[in-house]
């Protein structure tokens, strides 16, 4: 039992905006009242719900590939020494599993969604998530280039495709469905891509990227999954791609969808020399479509690691940068590409990217529909979120940064004209309440009675020093996980998974197909429930 007294509470989901009140905790949940137990004096502090990251890459085959690809990056990484309570690890651009848990928690984030899991290696992803301490986790499986699904769409068998998607989700013990460059990744297996939405995908005659997007969004809605289709649009990173993004918004009319890392899809121009930010145009279209949510995928200057299922894009990036290139094509399902990248202030393209991320966050008017992410580790590392929050809350900080950009860049962005400054309550929405709602996690992102007791306490510092980044206390599931910057031993986090409805007979369809196209046996494909640490199953009715 725990009582947090005297803090100024920001709980936007319950319309509480800086009210001094007590938060009472018992058995891991927020309760109306407690008698006895420990009390934390929070006077002079602000109290927020624990952070929720809707799109990050923290575990799995691709990230582990990236770790192996760049051992040199760890030379400059933060080190975590082994103690009786804490496991050893390394921070840096691609933190190790244990360090990931400590770094997120120490920053005040308590729930993280791993956004790209191939089903074939889902077992591995769960093993890694098992080794991420403190945090609650969820994961999304890659489906928009799954050849079994695409073959069914080609044959017009949407009904059966729905059962297959549901079966695959349960086999992977995942929480939702991710689409990455629909049709483009499967085309990459023949060295091609999918640059237009209406032309047939390489190797198919009827299936188009547009068709994949609308079918998958529909299937996810029909299955009543708590989180809508999580979409990485076609033409990521390419100058002029805003047209594709807007076309995608139109395809999604009448469907729910979460648009991932929108910054990477908001460019105008027709080449690297003419690239400009079209965040304003995209925000205008997005504002009008309340069926959608998005995360920023903002970039910050410095070193990053691009990791995506978008294999063809990473080949482009390899050719552009000449740096190391990792690529893994996953049989029948997806691909993956990895290239280390450094965003530079003096680079015109990078300056446009930096501005576009902030512009989207400032121009999308409803904070409940745009969330703070850097598509970690693609745009910047998650542990740099406090820098982004600082930029959102202080227009003068943005001006300071703008003054360091190449003058040519200023003509291609609208950021200098934007004066909006985020309030603390809005920050609580884009970092916690909003993403929790979009993920359909009813007990996350707020401090109402019945909520998971994930609470963050910051010293209130008026003036210009940053508030975020070093919370005084982080409480996870009612236990104190961080106290004055020190990690404390707490219980292992949970994993959220869904159990959608499907016809059990679908296995009879899948089994012979498996023998033909896979190299592992059907019986070894589905992840066993025992592999998961503390699974919480959401049954979709």
């Amino acid at each position: 039992m725990l009582r947090i007294t005297g803090g100024k509470v920001y709980d936007p989901a319950n319309n509480i905006d800086g009210v001094v009140k007590d938060v009472c905790i018992a058995e891991g949940r927020v309760v109306p009242e407690v008698k006895g137990g420990r009390s934390v004096d929070a006077s002079g502090m602000v109290v927020l719900p624990g952070g929720v990251d809707i799109h990050s890459h923290i575990a799995g085959a691709a990230l582990n590939f990236a770790r192996g690809l760049t051992p040199e990056n760890y030379r400059r990484a933060l080190t975590f020494s082994h103690t009786p309570e804490r496991r050893a690890g390394l921070g840096g651009i691609t933190p190790t599993t244990f360090a990931t848990g400590y770094l997120y928690a120490a920053m005040g984030w308590t729930t993280v969604n791993e956004a790209a899991v191939p089903i074939l290696s889902a077992r591995h992803t769960h093993e890694e998530m098992h080794d991420i301490p403190i945090l609650d986790k969820a994961s999304l499986v890659l489906m928009a280039n799954n050849e079994i699904v695409l073959d069914l769409l080609e044959a017009g068998e949407v009904e059966r495709a729905r059962h297959v998607v549901a079966w695959l989700l349960w086999a992977a013990k995942a929480y939702g469905v991710k689409g990455v460059n629909p049709g483009g990744v499967v085309a990459w297996k023949s060295g091609k891509n999918a640059n237009t939405l209406s032309d047939p995908v390489e190797g198919y005659t009827r299936v188009t990227p547009a068709g994949i997007i609308s079918s998958l969004a529909g299937i996810v809605d029909d299955l009543r999954l708590p989180h809508p289709l999580h979409l990485h649009c076609n033409n990521l990173g390419v100058p002029g791609n805003v047209a594709t993004t807007i076309e995608t918004l139109k395809i999604l009319e009448g469907r729910r969808c979460h648009m991932a890392h929108l910054q990477f899809h908001a460019y105008g121009g027709d080449g690297w020399g003419t690239i400009r930010s079209e965040a304003a145009t995209l925000a205008e279209h997005f504002n009008a479509r309340t069926n959608l949510t998005a995360d920023a995928g903002a970039i910050l200057f410095g070193d990053a690691m691009t990791i995506t299922a978008d294999g063809p894009w990473e080949h482009v990036l390899y050719k552009l940068t000449g740096r190391k290139w990792g690529n893994v094509d996953v049989e029948n399902e997806t691909g993956c590409g990895i290239v280390p990248y450094t965003y530079k202030e003096r680079s015109l393209v990078n300056a446009v990217q930096w501005a576009a991320g902030l512009e989207l966050l400032l121009l999308i008017s409803d904070p409940w529909r745009i969330f703070l992410t850097t598509d970690h580790p693609n745009g910047a590392c998650f542990w740099r979120y406090p820098e982004l929050i600082d930029l959102l809350m202080h227009a003068d900080r943005r001006r300071e940064c703008l003054s360091r950009l190449a003058p040519a860049a200023l003509k291609r962005i609208v950021l200098p004209d934007l004066d909006r400054q985020y309030t603390l309550s809005e920050i609580a929405i884009i970092t916690s309440a909003g993403p929790a709602r979009a993920l359909g996690l009813a007990r996350k992102g707020h401090l109402g009675v019945g909520a998971d007791a994930d609470v963050v306490l910051y010293d209130e510092m008026p003036g210009d020093r940053p508030l975020f980044g070093s919370p005084r206390y982080v409480i996870k599931g009612g236990e104190i996980a961080v106290e004055d910057g020190e990690i404390r031993p707490v219980s292992q986090g949970r994993e959220f998974i869904v159990r959608p409805r499907f016809d059990e007979g679908i296995e009879d369809f899948l089994r012979p197909l498996f023998q033909k196209v896979y190299t592992i046996s059907f019986n070894n494909y589905a992840v066993e429930m025992e592999r998961l640490a503390g699974a919480e199953v959401h049954v979709c009715e």
């Binding site: 770790r67 020494s81 690890g89 390394l90 093993e127 060295g191 690529n327």
Partner: protein, 318 residues
């Protein structure tokens, strides 16, 4: 140079029409490779099976694998790097002197023919064995193979994969990577992971005699390490966990017999393409599993007074 362009083995089965094995002898070392993944299977885009695929073997001697090859290219020992670099030059249409090729054991025409075949492939794959990665040039050879495959993607689809073996070596590599950031050669003596192959890798530690104890799991270094390393293992307290008697267990101070994983103990094994497979025991064993033994050792160690770098005031921690 650097990076790795690869795929899972199902992609090879479904798509590869051009397969190169380099510095390896899969017929004897990975006997199911041809039949399960690379040659005889009918794939989704290779419906003819073996007839739809071309296999080239590159090695320093004619091994039994050559019988399965459409083309065998014998190169001089220790010339892998030179051959690979020449191929990279030819791929980029750079001028190569006939003499430069002469020392490799192959003619320029043979090399040009290989490059043409690689470029003509619809989906090419290059498997490389320890004949490349563990001979003179070592990691530079591996880097050259990996770069050749990466650069071929400017012309066609091409991937690359090391022919790993020795039990669950890939699994160990995977777990160490996610828990410490590094695949092998890791030193935890400062309390956090440090990596330096050549300094902290097992063979170097043993040969120099740096370590004063050894716990060996799922490996038989007594059979493969250089003699000074083996002698060091015999000198220090060596503890071996193994289901059977091995070269290492014979020279160890303690051998704890454990249940064989995959036969009488459950677990996970990673294939060479990093795909994890569950292991389900078919038999019962009177012996404990490796995991059980390690847990019991850890519990016993935990009962001793704490020794951690953080608790040890004399040690500098960065």
């Amino acid at each position: 140079m650097g990076g790795k362009v690869t795929c899972t083995l199902g992609e090879v089965k479904n798509r590869a029409d051009f397969i190169v094995y380099w510095g390896g002898n899969p017929a004897e070392c990975h006997p199911r490779h041809f039949t399960k993944y690379t040659l005889t299977q009918k794939g989704r885009f290779v419906p003819e099976g073996r007839k739809g695929r071309t296999m080239v073997l590159v090695d320093i001697r004619e091994t039994p694998s050559a019988r399965a090859a459409d083309l065998f290219l014998q190169i001089r020992p220790g010339k892998d790097f030179e051959v690979l670099t020449t191929l990279r030059a030819l791929v980029k249409k750079q001028r190569v002197d006939e003499e430069a090729a002469a020392g490799t054991g192959l003619t320029l025409d043979q090399l040009q023919d290989l490059v043409d075949r690689m470029k003509r492939a619809r989906f090419g794959v290059l498997f490389f064995g320890m004949g490349v990665s563990m001979t003179r040039g070592k990691h530079m050879n591996s880097a050259a193979v990996l770069t050749l495959a990466a650069e071929l993607n400017a012309f066609t689809k091409f991937v690359c994969m090391p022919m790993r073996g020795h039990g669950n070596v890939t699994g160990s590599d995977m777990v160490l990577r996610w828990s410490t950031g590094y695949p092998f050669g890791i030193n935890l003596s400062r309390g956090y992971p440090r990596f330096n192959p050549g300094e902290f890798s097992t063979v170097d530690l043993l040969v120099r005699g740096d370590n004063d104890a050894a716990l060996i799991l799922g490996a038989d270094p007594g059979a493969t390490m250089p003699q000074p390393g083996i002698e060091h293992l015999a000198r220090i307290p060596t503890i071996v966990l193994d289901p059977k008697v091995t070269h290492t267990s014979r020279l160890a101070r303690v051998h704890i017999t454990t249940a064989a994983t995959g036969i009488s103990a459950p677990g996970t094994v990673y294939r060479m393409d990093e795909v994890p497979l569950p292991l389900r025991p078919a038999l019962k064993s009177p012996y404990p599993t490796d995991e059980e033994v390690i847990r019991r050792i850890r519990r016993a160690v935990a009962e001793k007074p704490a020794w951690t770098p953080a608790a040890n005031a004399g040690m500098a921690i960065s």
